[in-house]
């Protein structure tokens, strides 16, 4: 049964089993079986690393095509602030939003504004919070899923403030339906996403609620058309365009942006899954108790490094960074008033509705005694393996291979290092077989040889 919806599909026709995806997967969710990559659904956290690394383009992110727009009476584009980082320095958000409208959306909403509100809400949340520390940001759905799967005991550390994209979509639907006399479901809200995982957070929110967004369109799909659409847009005054940017919100595009613009003292900003694993291990050990807040993104440098973005991630990171510096220097804020946010906060405007549940991996066996027996078996098997993690067996490491064997999902003989041994064991049988069957076959097919011999 397929319990989890994933944003990643493997095209088995294009896949030629090159192992790259299997090696890069941070949760060991990919195996190569019969020369093709396959996914272990319960282990996948939709980080998208495999998409980036596949040389054949055989792993496909599932996002919505443009055509979905026609299903709605009124459509609104809600771009991730990472979209603003995809174009040159002179192209500021207002021009990009105008471009989106020219592309066919009825409206384009500046999500950075909501991000800014949520930043203030996070600040409020932190100041009132009394539970286990550090708190962890939920902006990155991969991080949330990583915690559900691999660090279930850290679930209570995730902040229960809803994400800006969900809050924005909810409010847009409310406002627009009133304004146009339409039903909320007739208003289409589309998130322009830098990564595939946001797609799943729409189809299957981690907290099991229902998303207010109707779809996600990849930034890489919309980039080309948007670039052409912006060609005719008047440039206008740079200073004026700057004055529309919410500094707190624009920071959400890059790692560290929230902490920096809120000036959080005891906070960490981490990006890249391997780094996140290290930090989460430290939290589990109880080592980071004096840190208040952790901003963590699975993509390097934050959302600007998403696998569905176009611009080199260091360039786009730099664009946001320089923009922040300019806004700081010119003392431009353009964010919602903090007191207004406080009032909304009291009304639970920012509260996450559903509850996050852990999604721990299946243990080796349900019964503890049996599980202990199996882990011993696994260790014994591991000791016999070459420990070079070649991947030829179809499992990413020798250790996962040992686990797969114990779980009955792989055979010991799948390890090519076991093959010589196996052949030796079989050799008496084999030579017998050879004697019996091989010579007549040669006689049948080797007619020419036969003639020469004769």
């Amino acid at each position: 049964m397929n319990q989890y919806f994933h944003s990643i599909r493997i095209n088995t026709e294009k896949c030629d089993g090159r192992l790259k995806c299997m090696r890069v997967c941070p949760t060991q969710a990919i195996r190569i079986r019969n020369g093709k990559a396959m996914m272990i659904e319960e282990k996948c956290i939709d980080c998208g690393e495999c998409i980036t690394v596949c040389p054949n383009g055989a792993i496909i992110p599932l996002t919505d095509p443009f055509g979905e727009l026609t299903k709605f009476r009124h459509t609104v584009a809600i771009p991730s602030p990472a979209l603003y980082a995809q174009f040159g320095r002179e192209i500021l958000p207002d021009k990009i939003l105008t471009g989106l409208k020219k592309l066919g959306f009825d409206d384009a909403f500046d999500l950075a504004f909501t991000c800014g509100e949520v930043s203030f809400a996070i600040q409020e949340y932190l100041s009132k919070y009394k539970g286990p520390k550090p708190l962890i940001s939920n902006a990155c759905p991969t991080v949330v899923r990583l915690i559900q799967v691999k660090y279930p005991d850290l679930i209570d550390h995730i902040i229960t403030i809803d994400t800006p994209r969900e809050i924005a979509a909810r409010e847009i639907k409310k406002k627009k339906s009133k304004q146009f006399g339409l039903k909320e479901k007739e208003i289409g809200t589309f998130y322009l996403t830098p990564c595939p995982v946001k797609m799943i957070s729409i189809k299957q929110p981690a907290e099991k609620g229902k998303s207010h967004l109707d779809g996600a369109i990849s930034i890489s799909d919309i980039y080309g058309p948007l670039l052409s659409a912006m060609e005719g847009v008047e440039k206008g005054s740079y200073r004026k365009s700057l004055e529309n940017i919410c500094i707190l919100g624009i920071g959400w595009a890059m790692v560290g942006g929230i902490c920096r613009t809120l000036r959080l003292k005891n906070s960490l900003a981490v990006s890249g899954l391997t780094e996140i694993l290290k930090v989460f291990d430290d939290i589990e050990r109880g080592k980071l108790r004096n840190i208040d807040f952790i901003e963590a993104y699975s993509c390097p440098q934050g959302c600007v490094g998403g696998s569905l973005t176009v611009e080199n991630l260091y360039i786009s990171y730099n664009k946001i960074l320089k923009l922040l510096e300019t806004l700081e220097y010119k003392k431009i804020k353009a964010c919602r008033d903090k007191r207004e946010v406080s009032k909304l906060y009291e009304k639970k405007y920012f509260s996450l509705k559903g509850k996050l549940e852990p999604r721990p991996l299946k243990p080796l066996a349900e019964d503890l005694g049996k599980a202990i027996k199996k882990i011993k078996e696994k260790e014994d098997i591991y000791e016999t393996l070459p420990k070079i993690d070649c991947g030829a067996c179809g499992s990413p490491t020798c250790l996962t291979f040992a686990e797969d064997v114990v779980r009955g999902e792989a055979e010991l003989t799948d390890c090519i290092f076991n093959l010589p041994q196996r052949i030796k064991e079989l050799s008496p049988e084999l030579s017998e077989l050879l004697n019996k069957s091989v010579s007549p076959k040669l006689n049948n097919s080797g007619i020419k040889k036969e003639k020469k011999k004769g």
Partner: protein, 148 residues
């Protein structure tokens, strides 16, 4: 109860080797997760194992941490060779620490170690011979009637 339901695994810990500090407790945590131990128990055991490991790294020459799991309990057994503890009563006081300033700078030795292990475990035993070493027995019960 036969031996087949019992897992026993040794981890060697080198004193002063901060670069590898934490590897034993991380492995222990992985094993506990894999066999499906309740996550709140994993958390407590991980913290205790880490503190125990760090005590060896910070104060001893070397040590051996043994993980023994049966369906009834998790037993962490630590034996180290080193300076030992002169006054166990004092060492068990919250906030007491002999960590150097350098260690504290790194976030270690806030006087959390031993009391923290005790707080997180269901049963805790300590014995030490000054100049020779320390041994700890840390136990977590797995049946539902267990403490905590």
């Amino acid at each position: 109860m036969g031996n087949e339901n019992k897992l026993s695994k040794n981890f060697e810990i080198e004193g002063r080797d901060f670069s590898k500090a934490g590897t034993a407790s991380t492995k222990i945590k992985e094993i506990l997760k894999e066999i499906g131990i309740d996550s709140s128990v994993v958390r407590r055991a991980a913290i205790a194992a880490y503190e125990a490991e760090m005590n060896v790294v910070m104060y001893a020459n070397k040590g051996k941490l043994t993980l023994i799991i049966t369906p009834e309990q998790i037993h962490l057994k630590l034996e180290d060779k080193g300076q030992g503890i002169k006054d166990i009563k004092l060492a068990m006081q919250e906030g007491f620490s002999t960590a150097t300033d350098e260690m504290r700078e790194m976030g270690f030795g806030a006087g959390m170690g031993l009391p923290n292990i005790k707080r997180n475990s269901d049963k805790f035993e300590i014995s030490s011979t000054p100049g020779q070493g320390t041994s700890l027995n840390i136990i977590f019960y797995l049946n539902h009637k267990g403490k905590k």
